[in-house]
Symmetry: C2
Subunit: 337 residues, 2 copies
C-alpha cells in the first residue's frame, strides 16, 4: 500500500559515470491538471524529507491550493522513496549507491513532468533547502518552461562553508563503527544520533536558543528538544540514504552540466523566471548573503528574507506558523504576478 | 624537562562534590614582578590550549610586554598540564575525572596568585574564548583586586546555543567506539578527527570560506585545511582532556557560586573593573549579541567587536595579524587607562 506513484526512468546514466539501471522517481500529485495544462506547480523535497513533509503547506486555502493547482511533488533520489541506497537492488545498493547530482535529479523530474503529463509550462517551482536548490536548477535548465520560482532557504550552489558544515554532519555519523563503511546490518544508531546533535546547533539560530523557543513548542527541556526532535528525526531513515542526499547537496551547483559548463554567472543569468528568493535571516548554513549575490546575477529576481529567529527552519514546511504565513503570502503574490 | 612551574593545590574540593587530591596548576610567568607588585597581568588559557599558545601575543613591543609587565599564564584544568584526566592518578583518572567548574579554576588561580606571589592587585586579566570566561569570573569574584579585564570572544555564561554546539562536538567524538566511554587504551583518532571536522564549520565564518581565506594562509585546498588544520589540531591531545574542558565550558556561569547564587545580573553588576569586551563580529558560538547583553549590565564596560570574517578565531592568539593588531591596540588602551 503506497499513497504515491512511481515513474520508471529506465537505465539512468548519471553525471558521475554510473548507470542506475531501473531507476525511478516516486512522486505524488495533488489537485487536477486543467485542460490548458497551465496550473502546474512542482515542489521538490528537502534533505531527509519525503513528499509527506511537503504536505504541511499544501491544502485548500493555502497558496499551494490543490483546488486550483496541479501540484507535483517528486521525491529526491536518496530519500528512501525514489531510487536510494536503501531500496536499490544489488550491485548499486547500500554503500555502492552512486553519486546522484542535482542535475540528475532535476533532469529526471523534467522527464516525469513532460513524459507522464505532457506538461510544457510550469507556473511555479518551489522548494525549501535542497528543494530550493532543485528549484534553482529547474529555472536554469528550463527557462522557457518555468514561469516562476520560489527558492526558500537554499542556494544555487552549495557554498564552501555549507560544504564544511556537512563534513561535520558526515564525520559524526560515520564515526560510529557500526556504520561499517556503509555495510551495516543494523542501523548505526549512535552515529545517527550524533548527526542529529550536530545538526541541532546549525538548523536554528543562536537567538532561538537564547529565547528558549523549544520550551514554547512543546519540549520539556533543552535535552528533551535534542533527543525528541533532533535525534528523533534522524533515527527512522537509512544512514546510506542520508549520505547519498548529503553527497548530492555538497556537490550541488546549477552550472555543473553541459548547458553551462561550470559558468555559474551564466546559469543564474539564464533564469528568466520571476523569482522571489527567500532566505532565512538567521540561517547559518544557507545565509542570506549567498542569495544576495545570486539575486544580483538573476534578471528577474527579488530577495525577500524571512525575518525570523528560526534559522534554517524558518522556511521549512510546517515548522513555525508566522514564518509559514510569510512564505504563503509571498507564494500567492508570485503566483498572481 | 618542563618550561613551566607547578603550584600544588593540595586536596581541592570541587563545586561538583568530588575532591581532587593533590591537584595542581601548571603555570608560566613572563617578565618580573616589580617591587610595588602593581604590574601583574593574568592570562588564562583556552579550550585545548596550553600556555605555549598564549605566547603568540606575549613579547617585547606587544601590549603584553614582559619587559614591563609580570604576566602569569595559569593552565586551565583539563588542558593536559594542570590536573587533567590524562595526568591524574587513579582513582580520579581518565573517564572518572570529575567536573571542574569555571569557579574551581579561577578560585584556584587566585590561590596561586596570592599564595605564591603575594599579589593584591591585578592590572589586567585577559583571555580568549574559555580564557575570556575565566577573565569574567576573575572580575566577578575579585572586584577589589582586578583593575581591568579584556574578555575576547567569550561570554560570562555559556549560552544555550553554545551548549548545543558543544553537544555536537561531543557527540562526534564519542560516536567512535574506540572512545570506549573514556577507557580507551589507544586514542580514538576517528572521533578526534570527527570532532575537528565538526569544529571547522563553527570556528570561522561563512565569509571566511566564501573568500577562501584558507588558500591565502598556506593550505592547498579546502580538504587540506580540514585535515591539516582542523583534524591536526585535535589529534595530539587526549580525548578525556577535551571532554573535561568541554564540561567546564558547557557549565560555565560566573554566578554559579556561593557569592552570587546564580544571580547572573548581580555577578555582572559587581564587575567594577574597567572592561573592554571584544567579541568577534562573525563569531558563531560566542556571538556579539550575548556580550552586548552582558555589557549592558556591567558598570564600567565597553563593547568593542573585532570587525573580521575570522569568526571565533578573530580573537585567537596568533591567528590573524590584522585582528591581533586590533586586540593589541585595545589592550594597550586599556592598560593605559
Amino acid at each position: 500500500m503506497t499513497d504515491y506513484q512511481v515513474f520508471n526512468l529506465g537505465n539512468l546514466r548519471l553525471q558521475g559515470g554510473a548507470t542506475l539501471r531501473g531507476a525511478w522517481i516516486a512522486y505524488k500529485t495533488y489537485g487536477a491538471l486543467n485542460a490548458a495544462k497551465d496550473n502546474v506547480i512542482v515542489f521538490p523535497t528537502f534533505f531527509g524529507g519525503q513528499h509527506y513533509a511537503n504536505e504541511a503547506i499544501i491544502g485548500p486555502g493555502q497558496a499551494l491550493d490543490p483546488e486550483r493547482y496541479f501540484i507535483i511533488v517528486p521525491n529526491m533520489m536518496g530519500n528512501g522513496l525514489s531510487s536510494s541506497p536503501s531500496n536499490t537492488p544489488m550491485p548499486y545498493d547500500r554503500a555502492r549507491f552512486p553519486w546522484v547530482s542535482l542535475y540528475d535529479n532535476v533532469s529526471s523530474q523534467h522527464r516525469l513532468v513532460t513524459e507522464v503529463f505532457g506538461i510544457e509550462r510550469i507556473a511555479m517551482v518551489v522548494g525549501w533547502s535542497m528543494g530550493a536548490q532543485q528549484t534553482y536548477q529547474w529555472g536554469a535548465l528550463y527557462p522557457d518552461m518555468v514561469e516562476r520560482i520560489a527558492p526558500i532557504c537554499g542556494s544555487a550552489r552549495t557554498s564552501r562553508h555549507n560544504f564544511v558544515f556537512l563534513e561535520g554532519v558526515k564525520a559524526a555519523l560515520t564515526a560510529d563503527d557500526s556504520w561499517a563503511n556503509g555495510w551495516y546490518d543494523s542501523p548505526p544508531y549512535k552515529g545517527l544520533r550524533a548527526m542529529g546533535r550536530v545538526y541541532a546547533g546549525w538548523a536554528v539560530s543562536q537567538a532561538f536558543y537564547r529565547e528558549e523557543v523549544y520550551l514554547d513548542i512543546g519540549y520539556s527541556s533543552l535535552e528533551d528538544y535534542l533527543v525528541a526532535f533532533w535525534e528523533g528525526r534522524r533515527l527512522f531513515a537509512d544512514a546510506n540514504d542520508f549520505l547519498a542526499m548529503l553527497r548530492t547537496w555538497q556537490n550541488a551547483d546549477i552550472s555543473l552540466n553541459d548547458k553551462y559548463n561550470g559558468d555559474f554567472a551564466a546559469a543564474l543569468g539564464s533564469i528568466t523566471a520571476r523569482a522571489i528568493v527567500m532566505p532565512g535571516r538567521t540561517d547559518l548554513y544557507f545565509p542570506p548573503e549567498d542569495n544576495e549575490i545570486e539575486v544580483s546575477m538573476m534578471p528577474n529576481a527579488e530577495l525577500r528574507p524571512i525575518e525570523s529567529i528560526w534559522g534554517h527552519l524558518a522556511g521549512g514546511p510546517g515548522f513555525n506558523p508566522p514564518d509559514a504565513a510569510f512564505v504563503d503570502a509571498a507564494l500567492r503574490e508570485l503566483l498572481a504576478s
